[in-house]
């Protein structure tokens, strides 16, 4: 972990890794979407509308995984004062929010033909909407702390906010278990290595989840690279104006 503490060493890995993650991710996303749209058989009950699954699940995964990333970054910032942690937090927040919104939008589009409604205040839907609001709050807090010049990163208040927001993650996960919800229970159990999705319909989901995860990594690396370069520019300009 501390091997990456030095931004220069981080960049030595991040710069060559970015195009691999990006194009590898795009290739897997395209393959998975194609298979999900044209190869996988239609669902016995939902027909073709279930195909939204192949983008809805990765979007939900990235929205929740993004906040898990923010939480890890916040712990590294608060405990070890890791110099890259707050940069990583800022880099994750915006794409995480975009994919949380996308999860809500694709879910809504799916809900209309299957449930017969665009939106219901059910436990899963409501807790996911809360996650989007939490992201917006984080982005606003991070932006204001950067503008106040907290060494190119986010303030400790922002990191603590990320920790508190992490409490919503188990709520989202268990919302379909705790409460009678309109949203169905989970189909895949990683712990039990089992799935109630037929194998012929499951493998394209593996492709899109892996693809979107790789692509998301590339976006976070790109945003971190941009922020580190912007920090260098700002430091340089400050020295010049002083000098």
């Amino acid at each position: 972990m501390h091997v990456l503490a030095n931004p220069r060493r981080f960049l030595a890995i991040a710069v060559p890794a970015t195009p691999w993650c990006f194009w590898g991710g795009i290739a897997l996303i395209l393959a998975g979407c194609w298979a999900g749209l044209f190869v996988a058989p239609a669902d016995y009950l939902q027909g073709h509308s279930f195909r939204i699954l192949y983008i809805h699940v990765p979007a939900a995964w990235l929205g929740m995984g993004g906040w898990s990333g923010l939480t890890i970054a916040a712990i590294m910032q608060l405990v070890w004062r890791h110099p890259l942690a707050s940069v990583a937090g800022r880099a994750i927040a915006v794409p995480g929010a975009i994919f949380t919104a996308l999860c809500l939008a694709t879910g809504s589009i799916w809900g209309r033909p299957t449930w017969g409604t665009w939106w219901e205040w059910d436990g899963r839907l409501t807790s996911m909407l809360l996650l989007l609001f939490l992201y917006i709050g984080y982005i606003a807090l991070a932006r204001s702390s950067v503008e106040r010049g907290d060494a190119g990163g986010v303030s400790r208040v922002t990191a603590i906010y990320a920790l508190i927001g992490a409490l919503n993650l188990p709520v989202i996960h268990y919302s379909v278990v705790w409460w009678n919800s309109l949203h169905q229970a989970k189909s895949i159990s990683i712990v039990r290595m089992s799935s109630s999705i037929d194998p012929s319909m499951l493998w394209p989901l593996g492709l899109t989840v892996l693809g979107f995860t790789l692509w998301f990594t590339a976006i976070v690396l790109l945003r971190m690279r941009a922020m580190l370069a912007e920090n260098r520019i700002e430091a340089r300009l400050r020295r010049m104006s002083r000098g």
């Binding site: 990006f22 996303i29 979407c33 749209l37 939902q46 027909g47 073709h48 509308s49 195909r51 939204i52 983008i55 809805h56 979007a59 794409p95 975009i98 994919f99 996308l102 939008a105 694709t106 589009i109 799916w110 209309r112 033909p113 692509w215 590339a218 976006i219 790109l222 945003r223 690279r225 941009a226 922020m227 370069a229 912007e230 260098r232 520019i233 340089r236 300009l237």
Partner: protein, 43 residues
């Protein structure tokens, strides 16, 4: 109800968001890294 308009809308939305996020992230990183390199050269 014909499901395809819904499927196409969901995939279309995801496509637009993915492409827009990609272009934005690449462009910002390239621009910032190029400017940082230019400034360092002047040192």
């Amino acid at each position: 109800m014909n499901p395809w308009p819904f499927v196409i809308a969901a995939y279309g939305l995801t496509f637009v968001a993915t492409v827009a996020t990609s272009l934005w992230a690449w462009q910002r990183a390239r621009q910032a890294e190029r400017r940082a390199a230019d400034l360092l050269e002047r040192d």
